[in-house]
Amino acid sequence: MYKIERSPYLEMSVMIGIDPDSDGLKRAAKRGYKTISNGIDGLMDQLDLVDIVYDATSAYAHKRHSELLTAANKKVIDLTPAAIGPFTVPPVNLREHIDQPNVNMVTCGGQATIPIIHAIHRVVPVDYAEIVATIASKSAGPGTRANIDEFTRTTAKAIEMVGGAKKGKAIIILNPAEPPIIMRDAIHVLVEEQGHEEAISKSIHEMVATVQKYVPGYQLKSEPIFDGNKVSVFIEVNGAADYLPAYAGNLDIMTAAAVQVGNEMALHLQQKEGVL
């Protein structure tokens, strides 16, 4: 909501929840937005309120939401691991799927690491890429916890399909330390051919700068480490603290990436309308 308010192309219209007492709905109402507290059914009665719907429910609920909304010609940006639509990681393939009815935002770990894998892959082909996302326990909601396999499965798939790796693997670790730790990701890749260290480092630094444009707290924790044909990169994601505290960089990078996609979709829709 806060990120959409700052977007030059999107207009915040309505917040939809299933618990009338939820903090999210209360905040939206306080800021003067319409709220719906009976979920997708409530929205289906007032569809003219929206052009684009962000769905951050669960993979299970998303299936039904997506069917209903796309049938009504609404664009859907999926922040669950349902992965019905094609994967989008903005600095890699922002515009590729912009005319699709449903696009999927992979996972927080995917948004944080796939740009780096792509940055390496555009220099030397990547045979294998593996990511380890460590997030604060407090930033992992009940949906993530109950379906932790979906994180690993969806992220691994996107590492291959978007990152370009021949084979992908993803690991997620929850750390309960207090104060909560900031999201960190390790990216280990095996490249087809040794060397190219300078070019790979340069490409990674360029990519970090690109991601920083929409996630200012995205940073390298150290220089890339080269060991034979293995490259290891460590990053940290500080959130913008719009809603959740800064440690929840995992949620921030998801929502920030989703806003990027929304911006493009909105532009695309306006252009289409302009032609008509």
């Binding site: 380890v132 916890r145 690993t152 499965r153 690991i171 670790i173 750390n175 330390a177 960190r184």
Partner: protein, 336 residues
């Protein structure tokens, strides 16, 4: 009184041999464990099913091939697998179950039991003896462990383990935790030790006295850090204490001598660094990674482990070691 000994040589020991177990080694060890009457033994990558990775070390041989070989040697012993949700998946568990595994141990950090609910439910539905394994148990107060153990039990775990992954506990810590679980739970309780402070066997005995009925050991203590409670020594001590384990001591000692001793890559002793693991409360499998990083960056591995301990790292965060090592090295460079 009957106790269930579970041998983890072919799983925790995987760390110590850098995940290089071969089918022949596993076959020989499994044959010996079965002949010795060890009721359960575990075969998996050191970090559980799906653990083969650049982060933790690639398996030389696919763990499913190792599991298959182990199962084929068993007439009385049953094979267990370890699974850490977030690393391994339900598919991995299904693959292992289809090979004839009889027990699944679902391991989470001591505060994160809820990420294992689906895996425990799946293990039960596959007819496996199902264990909830609370890692790094030294990091949480007793009430928290009780709360998390109850979650495991509510998902269907038949045994809940207190796991001293860092080898940081003293006997009183073990007694406190196991006694509290014994009071709060209906299911059985287990204990898994690491020997970083030379407390593994003492802690295991404390656990049994407090009500644990499943205890882990490893032949020649082969395991992460300074290794685990040494199975053959534990079998002898438990017999002296009057417990029934069903283990043939000579057979087990022979297996330890003839199969495990020759495959060890370094003595399973308490080095300065493994002592620091226990002292700083660091996950035992960080040891060999810290040694590599210390060498690569020319720093003291103890400094890395102390720093990682301060940062309250949990199991699986091996990547932190390299980052800490690089930072320590760069700090040293700026000091004249």
């Amino acid at each position: 009184m009957k106790l269930n000994v579970l041998d983890v040589t072919l799983r925790d020991g995987s760390h110590s041999v850098r995940h290089s177990f071969t089918v022949e080694q596993v076959r020989a060890a499994a044959k010996g464990l079965n002949a010795s009457g060890v009721p359960y033994f575990e075969v998996s990558h050191g970090d559980g099913l799906g653990g083969s990775s650049l982060q933790y070390g690639l398996s030389k041989t696919d763990e499913l091939k190792l599991i298959e070989a182990a199962v084929s040697e068993c007439t009385t012993s049953q094979v267990s697998v370890l699974l850490l949700p977030g690393i391994g998946t339900k598919e991995d568990l299904q693959s292992a179950a289809s090979l004839g595994v009889k027990m699944a141990r679902i391991a989470t950090h001591v505060t994160e039991a809820d990420i294992g609910a689906q895996h425990i439910e799946l293990a039960r539905s596959l007819g496996l003896k199902t264990v909830g394994f609370l890692m790094m148990s030294h990091m949480a107060p007793v009430e928290k462990i009780v709360e998390q153990a109850k979650l495991f039990e509510s998902y269907g775990a038949e045994i809940v383990y207190v796991t001293d992954s860092a080898g940081a506990m003293l006997p009183k810590d073990v007694t406190e935790r196991i006694s509290a679980l014994r009071q709060a739970l209906q299911c059985e309780i287990g204990f898994h030790a690491h020997n970083n402070l030379s407390m593994a066997l003492a802690n295991t005995i404390a656990a049994i006295k407090a009500g644990a009925t499943y205890v882990d050991g490893s032949m020649r203590a082969l395991g992460a850090g300074a290794g685990n409670t040494q199975t053959e020594v534990m079998a002898a001590v438990l017999e002296r204490l009057g417990y029934e384990t069903g283990i043939d001591l000579y057979n087990l000692i022979d297996t330890a001598n003839d199969v495990i001793a020759p495959l060890m890559q370094q003595p399973q002793e308490i080095t300065g660094s493994s002592l620091i693991l226990g002292y700083a409360g660091v996950y035992s499998s960080f040891l060999l990674h810290a040694q590599n990083a210390a060498e690569q960056f020319g720093i003291d591995e103890r400094d890395i482990l102390m720093k990682v301990g301060e940062m309250k790292a949990v199991g699986g965060q091996e990547d932190l070691i390299y980052e800490v090592a690089q930072n320590l090295a760069s700090k040293r460079e700026v000091v004249p």
